[in-house]
């Protein structure tokens, strides 16, 4: 919001020639005629309460870019007593609306947040901790490492304290305002119509004390833009209902959600199945490696013995063990995360609830859904299920990791995928499981096969120079890679309809993307030298927050898609 400096001009001063070009800019700030020149500075320093009114606030929360703001002008004139002229605002006589009081976080919230935050910081530093536990023969190093960890934990405790002590929020004139910070003060205004999604989180501490954490995501930064770490359930409900009145989010409370419809629910068996089909070979390899490392740290003799006399049977056994351990961990964590999962469709919003100890509720306005991604990894597909990810523009980092999707439906039966995706993305009316997708170009198979050959040859070469007795098994990987490439190519597909773009890729981890065309930001076509040789190219479409590749297509198809996508751009 840095570009609106010129809007903060007190009304008394004459607008310059440049400022006059717009008839009336929606974001114009209205100030009292006798406002001192340094009012804005004083507000920023917290010396006076900010009293800012903008045209669209007066127009009852009309979005900033809404051209219909013009129809409110008469009303604004009556409300504010501003005489509106074609060349700007003149002779204003402003009546400011009364100030809304600021609210703080719940007093208990400090206690609720301190432990989890400190724990989270320490947990995120697990690599350092591993070194501390198993690496340090030299006690000096161990001490220094511990100090670093402690320092970070203390820092996060301090941040939590500052967050609690200084955070103030309110809904003032149709906007959510959040202020916080001790040394670096921050004041943020969020337009409810711009909210991408709202997440309510309740960990065990929250549940015991009857509090809730509210996270509000907009399309701006890669962090949660509005984090209210502990509100009483009552305050959170009030705030949500206020926001709901100003946007397409759904309110909560008595009688609000009578017309809700449960779309998906998950039973215990499905949750466990989701966990079992989630882990991949990579995790198994990691667990095996960590296991071997631990073994060589604790009893080096046994480990040396083990690596020297490694029999194929033992390797298989070790892998089986790692698989079982990986599955167990995955199933249990999935149980904690998705216990009691339900997805509810409200008139203009999707709401998902989930969680055993940490309960989450995510609300996504349907109009903000940018893209759906449906993952069908091999095992899950064989069991007859797929996972639907609902993505908005609110790409964000939360709890130290990037959140892939804002909404997730972990297990949807194959026959049900069409219904769920239609509900989640009503703008893109397409069911990729019944609609016939167009295949990737035949010649792209050659490219895929060549690429697979080169890739696996390098891997096999490396493997054969590293491994001992089992190295002659490795060349068998080449045909497997070729079959994999063929399957992958065979399962690719794309479709462009008047309302949606569909792209499907992958055999082992099949992904289907559904993009509503009215959300399209830009279209790119790429062509490498080998693709040019075959007359192929690949289209990449981007929406806010994600970028999706279509399968490789021939020249005719590519040009048709490009023409088609640019056809109704300005609608």
């Amino acid at each position: 919001m840095g570009s609106e400096d010129d809007d903060n001009r007190p009304l008394g001063s004459e607008p310059t020639e440049e400022e006059r070009t717009d008839v009336i800019r929606p974001n114009t700030v209205i100030r009292p005629i006798d406002a001192p020149d340094d009012l804005a500075t004083q507000e920023a320093q917290g010396l006076v309460q900010p009293q800012v009114t903008t045209i669209e606030m007066l127009a009852h929360g009309t979005p900033r870019d809404d051209p219909t703001v013009g129809i409110f002008l008469e009303e604004i004139e009556q409300t504010v007593g501003i005489h509106l002229q074609a060349d700007g605002l003149h002779e204003a006589e402003t009546k400011l609306t009364p100030d809304t009081p600021w609210r703080g976080l719940h007093p208990i919230s400090l206690g609720v947040n301190l432990l989890p935050r400190a724990w989270k910081t320490i947990r995120n530093m697990w690599p350092v901790l591993i070194f501390v536990v198993i690496g340090g023969e030299r006690v000096g190093m161990r001490f220094v490492d511990m100090l670093v960890v402690l320092l970070f934990a203390l820092l996060s405790v301090w941040n939590t304290f500052i967050h609690w002590a200084t955070l103030r929020y309110r809904i003032h004139q149709g906007r959510l305002e959040i202020r916080q910070g001790l040394l670096n003060r921050q004041a943020r205004t969020i337009d409810p119509a711009r909210i991408q999604n709202v997440e309510l989180v309740q960990n065990l501490f929250h549940t015991w004390t009857g509090l809730v954490e509210l996270r509000i995501d907009t399309a701006g930064e890669q962090t949660t833009e509005g984090l209210l770490s502990a509100l009483s359930v009552e305050e959170a409900t009030t705030l949500q209902n206020q926001l709901a009145n100003l946007s397409s989010l759904a309110g909560t409370g008595d009688g609000v959600n009578d017309n809700s419809e449960v779309v998906v629910e998950m039973g215990m068996a499905e949750i466990l199945a989701f966990g079992l089909t989630q882990r991949t070979i990579g995790t198994v390899a990691l667990i095996t490696a960590v296991g071997l490392e631990l073994l060589s740290q604790t009893s080096p003799d046994v480990a040396a013995d083990f690596t020297v006399n490694m029999q194929p049977a033992m390797i298989v056994a070790a892998f089986m063990l790692a698989f079982v351990a990986s599955w167990a961990v995955s199933a249990i964590s999935s149980l904690f995360r998705y216990f009691g999962y339900a997805m509810v469709r409200l008139p203009e919003t999707i709401r998902t609830t989930q969680g055993l100890t940490t309960k989450r509720r995510v609300e996504i306005p349907l109009s903000k859904v940018q893209m759906l991604r449906i993952d069908e990894p091999l095992m899950r597909r064989w069991m007859g299920f797929g996972t639907v990810h609902i993505e908005t523009a609110g790409l964000s980092y939360a709890e130290g990791e990037q959140r892939q999707a804002e909404g997730i439906v972990p297990m949807v039966e194959h026959s049900d995928l069409g219904r769920v995706t239609a509900l989640a993305a009503p703008h893109a009316s397409i069911d990729p499981w019944t609609a016939p997708l167009k295949p990737a170009h035949p010649r792209s198979l050659y490219r895929a096969l060549v690429a697979a050959t080169v890739r696996s040859s390098v891997m096999i070469g490396l493997g054969m120079s590293l491994f001992g007795p089992i190295r002659w098994v490795l060349p068998a990987l080449l045909p497997i890679a070729l079959v994999g490439a063929w399957l992958d190519w065979k399962k690719q597909g794309w479709l462009v309809t008047p309302s949606a773009i569909v792209s499907r890729r992958g055999f082992f981890n099949r992904r289907t993307f559904i993009i509503a065309r009215d959300k399209l930001q830009s279209v790119h076509r790429v062509q490498g030298p080998f693709m040019r040789l075959h007359g192929l190219s690949r289209l990449v479409v981007s929406v806010a927050g994600s970028r999706v590749s279509l399968p490789e297509t021939g020249l005719a198809d590519s040009e048709w898609i490009e023409a088609e996508l640019s056809r109704n751009l300005d609608q």
Partner: protein, 161 residues
């Protein structure tokens, strides 16, 4: 899709700019790195061999730096069409980007010290898709870049977020 009648090219001075920019980068970063690698390799292989390989690589890099910009210049085309901005670039790896006018969030012009010397500017076009520019046009005369910037950023519409 592109022909001489409906598309624009960059300013021809761009070729010289690119040559200079890359030569400077080569002298500051590339050549010291290569020489360092040569010394490291000289501990393993014969010194003469390492010296020959390093010298050849440097010579090839210089030649490449001098002639590649001309190819890139030839491959670059852009067009402001009715509904979108179309940019084509890349010699080996070609890329066509179409950015609808209605989805443009903001347009930047940027100018480094060398570009200022040549009177050129870069134009970066941003949409809501991400934090990186969705399309960029280097090597425009500064006044052209500013005119294009104003023209592109003036058109509005639903940004689809």
């Amino acid at each position: 899709m592109f022909d001489a009648s409906n598309s624009s090219r960059l300013d021809p001075a761009t070729i010289m700019l690119w040559r200079l920019q890359r030569l400077i980068r080569l002298v500051i970063v590339g050549i010291p790195t290569l020489i360092g690698l040569g010394f490291a390799a000289a501990t393993v292989v014969r010194v003469e061999l390492a010296a020959v390989v390093v010298m050849t690589t440097i010579a090839m890099n210089i030649v490449f730096t001098l002639f590649w910009p001309a190819l890139e210049y030839n491959a670059f085309r852009y067009a402001v069409r009715e509904h979108d901005l179309l940019v084509q670039h890349g010699v080996l790896f070609k890329r066509w980007s179409s950015v609808p006018h209605s989805r443009i969030q903001h347009v930047d012009t940027r100018q480094g010290p060398l570009e200022r010397l040549f009177g050129l500017s870069r134009l970066l076009i941003f949409t809501a898709a991400g934090s990186l520019a969705d399309a960029s046009i280097p090597g425009l005369r500064t006044e052209d870049a500013e005119r294009l910037r104003d023209e592109l950023s003036r058109r509005g519409g639903d940004d689809g977020v």
